[in-house]
Amino acid sequence: MRKKLIVLGGGTAGTMVVNKLHKKLDSQEWSITIVDKDNKHLYQPGLLLLPFGVYEAGELLKERDHFFPKGIEYIQAEIDKVDADSNTVYLVNGKTLVYDQLVIATGTTPHPDQTMGMDDAEIWRKSVFDFYTLPGAVALKDALNRFEGGRLVVHISEMPIKCPVAPLEFAFLADAYFTQRKMREKVEIVYVTPLEGAFTKPVCSKQLGYMLVERDIKLEPDFVIEHIDSQTKTMVSMDEREIPFDLLVTVPVNMGADFIGRSGLGNDLNYIPVNKENFLSTKYPNIFALGDASDIPASKAGSVAHFAIDMFTENFVEHLAGRPMTHNFDGHANCFIESGDGKGLLIDFNYTVEPLMGMFPLPVVGPFPLLKESRLNHMGKLAFRWIYWNLLLKGRWIPIPALMSMAGKKQATQKEGVGSHASN
């Protein structure tokens, strides 16, 4: 009998992992099954640009199974529960699957119901929008179109969220959008975050702090939301600060899949605790969590999942052979940040090294400048959609190494590293 590898979730991480492992594992010995609830793969980075008219919804969706390799089994069903003690996955349709090894890649989704008042019918998707879902982004496009001016609040409910810079990019793009529509002076843009600033790492905040000032985007830091008053359209914080809005673009609390909580596999946000270097569950020796579903202290981003899975593939083969896993992941992340007006920035960092200035991926010649606005970085972001569908998901080679390199980066001096004291 062949042994069974089951992958839960056929999004960015699940798709990459079946493509990689299909090549690595002996098909006489292992069968691979992937489970997802629907057959529509959404290109999530496109959700940021869709509200500004860059993409139509149809351009961001493709058939999921188109990206799975031949020779693996795809089950389209919703997962109800995992019983890790008996190695069993329960599906909502009543079927069960038994595994030898389990990879959980069910991602994270926004939960507006976690904030009192946010999803009140009077305001939800009428004056309060999320762009982290396709229906949300589509509704927001329409709302931006109709917006005649007033206070636009861009807001993060709670960390961690996937793609943590997306809301900031949204604020930059909104500034450019209303400027282009010649009505910028009618729109007040406020960026509201539970963090102590728009950027929290020293070199980033020093290099990029100007970006808000230059665009006349007001900043409200340390704002932990308590509730939204749907009558007066006001956000109220835990320390009773109030921010009224005409249009609120929020990122609701992000949480891992509900079944992870039900199965007793998650933390308080339904993320699965794993070893951050090899993604093995801290509780079960035959369960791994990849992509946004795990609790690793790295950005929840497709690029991180990509680097992580390069290392995971090697580790998994060692793990199956009963050898120690030797390919430790360093938390490498690499993100293009849209700054509006056809420009963008690039940042590259890991668990221990904060984003630094310099050129990427090659010293001096780049071609992509790090932590600096440029047109090329914006083109990089647009090109990412092609790379995503054609190379990334299929596990093909991408010209960026999985572990972070210091080549081309300028080391922060002692001074630049100095942050603020806890009391300010």
Partner: protein, 104 residues
């Protein structure tokens, strides 16, 4: 990384003044750190600080405000009353633990 003296004891801290070594902390140091950020320690404050210390030992990272609420039993709103404006950061500072993770 600098070494400074708090409550008569040399301790290692980072650039932001957070203790970097779990075992160098004691209650006297905590009281001193609290005073620096103008917090008068009461039983309610200690309850949270002790929870954070114990939780760190098993989890290897500083509990978030959400975790202090769900596992430690102190509502986020209450945390704001006890440690005004920046509870997560201030609680970690007094407990001698790393600042909770942000992002970029």
């Amino acid at each position: 990384m600098p070494v400074i003296e708090i409550a008569g004891k040399p301790v290692n801290v980072n650039e932001e003044g957070f203790l970097t070594s779990y075992d160098e902390w004691n209650e006297e140091i905590a009281r001193e750190l609290a005073k620096q950020i103008e917090i008068e320690m009461t039983d309610e404050h200690w309850k949270i600080i002790k929870f954070l210390r114990d939780d760190f030992k098993t989890q290897g990272e500083t509990a978030t405000s959400r975790r202090v609420q769900t596992v430690g039993g102190v509502p986020v709103k209450e945390q704001f009353v006890l440690f005004p404006k920046k509870p997560a950061k201030k609680m970690a500072y007094i407990a001698g633990l790393p600042k909770p993770k942000g992002c970029v």
